[in-house]
């Protein structure tokens, strides 16, 4: 029998209070209840329905019976009973499902388990399921936003500038894959954790970048995506404080801290060195910096932590000129070891230019381009053009800016390059 707490038994809470409590519970707990139900039922649609039915049951019963000791456990339990009922009804119509009988027995058995047993937070297991490498990357991101963050299909479609129908199809396929391919709603075993955490962090960072990349027009929905990514990042850190998870959260917070300063109201790019540093969000910087320190101390950090550490050096500098470029260049040296890529080398070249002189930096960029890497990457030519401009080699700078302009896709970037060209 469920133990129900009568709040101050002589003064029963009013129905309005209870309704308010249910609403608050919905806001704070519904995604967790949903995640637990997905784990038990292994079916997103059934879990979604069961979750709503559980809350409907709460609206009906809590005012009468009082608030349960553990509302979340009550809701999960109620949801499972509802799902069991639904499956029973379904089984009358669908005797072709041989697995069903077994599943019913399984559910019935687990339902008789103690109701007010502490229910763990299954949201992280759900994140791992949605970001499972067996699911196509194009479905991992929308599935995570839909099932973990609770965004609507329309919101996700809007943020990714896709038709809701296309997005709905991707989500439906992702959900079917979790169910039909037997993707577990669980945190992977220790020996697989770092590999699987890698895919989770990739998805979170892609969501963040989708919201952070400078495009005009949809600025509002896009900022929301960055906010969702940060929320997800916090969830992962809260439940699984691995150094790289902490590093990614730090990186996102430090990048986010510059959001207001990085473009004009017209959506034009403002380079880091020209940003109004007083517009940087000091609260986010402080949190990001302390997370970087925490992760660096763990000594098991990776590329996200190093990128965050670089962002933290920028955040610490009162002016662009006063930046500790020596430290940035050496952090890039470490990053190249962990994550060798021509793009990281390019960023390092810029730091070298600031530390050792423009010509030294230019030399590094020319070496990268000389190898044939980054020939089609507009930022490589833009960085080269910038160094040439500062060196007073205007003609060469013009050629490089023009090359960058033919390769650049995003409108704000093209406007920026055209402005630079006109200033030569």
């Amino acid at each position: 029998m469920k133990r129900l707490r009568r709040e101050m038994s002589n003064v029963p809470p009013s129905a309005t209070d209870i309704h308010q409590l249910i609403e608050e519970t919905y806001r704070s707990e519904s995604r967790r209840v949903f995640a637990s139900l997905v784990r038990f039922l292994r079916d997103f649609d059934l879990a979604e329905e069961a979750m709503h039915e559980a809350f409907a049951a709460a609206v009906e019963r809590w005012p009468r019976e009082g608030l349960p000791d553990n509302p979340r456990a009550w809701l999960v339990s109620a949801g499972r009973f509802k799902a069991l009922d639904a499956r029973r009804r379904l089984s009358h119509f669908n005797t072709l499902q041989p697995e069903l009988a077994g599943r019913l027995a399984e559910i019935a058995e687990s339902n008789t388990a103690r109701v007010d047993r502490a229910i763990e937070d299954d949201r992280l297991g759900l994140v791992f399921a949605c970001c499972h490498p067996a699911i196509d990357l194009s479905a991992q991101i929308p599935l995570t936003l839909r099932e973990v963050c609770g965004l609507t299909t329309e919101e996700i479609a809007g943020a990714f500038l896709t038709l809701p129908a296309t997005m709905a199809q991707r989500i439906v396929r992702g959900k079917a894959k979790v169910r039909d391919a037997g993707i577990p709603i669980a945190i992977p075993a220790a020996d697989e954790l770092s590999e699987r955490l890698g895919s989770v962090l990739t998805v979170i960072y892609l969501v963040f970048n989708e919201g952070y990349s400078a495009t005009s027009g949809e600025a509002i929905t896009r900022a929301d995506l960055s906010g969702e990514a940060i929320r997800l990042g916090r969830l992962v850190v809260e439940l699984l404080p691995e150094p790289e998870a902490i590093g990614l959260l730090a990186l996102m917070l430090l990048q986010e801290s510059r959001r207001r300063a990085r473009s004009t109201t017209d959506g034009d790019i403002i380079l880091l060195e020209e940003q109004d540093r007083s517009a940087w969000d000091t609260r986010l910087i402080a949190e990001g910096r302390s997370l970087v320190d925490q992760s660096l101390k763990a000594l098991k950090f990776g590329p996200y932590t190093l990128q965050a550490a670089i962002a933290a050096v920028h955040a610490d500098a009162p002016t662009a000129a006063a930046t500790d470029w020596g430290r940035i260049a050496s952090l890039y040296d470490a990053l190249i070891v962990l994550n060798p890529s021509p793009v990281v080398e390019l960023n390092r070249a810029v730091a070298v230019a600031m530390r050792d002189g423009l010509a030294a930096g230019l030399n590094v960029i020319d070496l990268i381009l000389g190898r044939g890497d980054l020939a089609e990457y507009h930022l490589a030519h833009a960085a080269r053009a910038d160094l040439l401009r500062r060196l007073g080699r205007k003609d060469e700078a013009r050629v490089a800016y023009e090359r960058a302009l033919t390769l650049a896709q995003q409108e704000p970037e093209r406007r920026f390059l055209m402005k630079r060209l006109s200033q030569l």
Binding site: E99, P133, A134, K177, G182, I183, P184
Partner: protein, 255 residues
């Protein structure tokens, strides 16, 4: 959940000695799985020079030499296992020796009613009803989805009846449709590092949709069975003799 692990690889990248070690390694893992009640079936397939593909169009049987898809890496063997979830399938796939040079495609089976019970065929068994063959059905999933559901249903009933007839004749070993190709995942291990990707091994128009393990007294007899399968009318059925690895049996004792 039941899973099929399909092992793809280049046929020429193994020496005979390596191939033998590889099979023994696989059998040892199967022995371990059998002890846990997770093993259903496995076999290497004969080289693709023995493969033939059957299609039936307008009532005429068309037989082409060679496998369904001309790829540089070929289906070289399979495992059918009963596992907790896809993570367990990935974990086992990444331990199988052929994974170091090839790819494992993991496909969940679609459980349906109406198929005869599977019959175990221990390694090196001799059966008067013939030697084992695998029929691999490829079909166009979009065509199925667009077709009336009664068409699919009829084809499934027809396939189940074929299985029943084979079973009555003592020639049926096992069969199952697979979940749609969108549920597939692939595993590779290179330099000790595991990669898991979404989707099937080969991006083909017609996709692997199911398999039959049968006994046939000859290659021709196996082709005749393939031609009776509804999949041959609607797609293609690849016929592959299983590799007899009974001489390796001394090293392991699975059935």
């Amino acid at each position: 959940m039941k899973y099929m692990l399909l092992m793809y690889g280049g046929e020429n990248c193994w020496t005979d000695e390596e191939r033998k070690d590889c099979m023994i390694g696989c059998l040892k893992i199967c022995e371990e799985l059998a002890a846990q009640g997770k093993f259903i079936a496995t076999s290497p397939l004969q080289p693709i020079t023995t493969a033939a593909t059957v299609r039936v169009r307008d009532g005429r049987t068309l037989i082409t030499d060679g496998p369904f898809a001309e790829t540089t890496e070929h289906l070289g063997g399979y495992f059918v296992l009963d596992l907790a979830d896809i993570d367990e399938a990935i974990e086992i796939a990444s331990r199988l020796p052929p994974i170091n040079k090839g790819t494992a495609e993991i496909r969940p089976l679609l459980s349906i009613d109406g198929l005869p019970p599977a019959r175990p065929f221990p390694v090196g068994s001799v059966d008067p009803n013939g030697t084992p063959y695998m029929l691999i059905c490829y079909d166009d999933e979009t065509k199925w989805r667009e077709a009336d559901s009664s068409v699919l249903r009829e084809a499934m009933v027809e396939a189940a009846l074929l299985a029943r007839r084979l079973s009555d004749a003592g020639k049926y070993l096992n069969a199952s449709p697979l979940q749609s190709a969108s549920t597939a995942a692939c595993v590779r291990v290179r330099d000790g590092k595991r990669q898991v990707t979404a989707g099937p091994f080969a991006e083909t128009h017609e996709v692997l949709g199911g398999f039959y393990l049968i006994l046939a007294e000859s290659h021709e007899a196996a082709l005749r069975v393939a031609a009776q399968h509804p999949g041959a009318r609607l797609g293609s059925v690849e016929v592959r003799p299983l590799f007899d690895f009974s001489e390796l049996q001394y090293s392991v004792s699975i059935s």
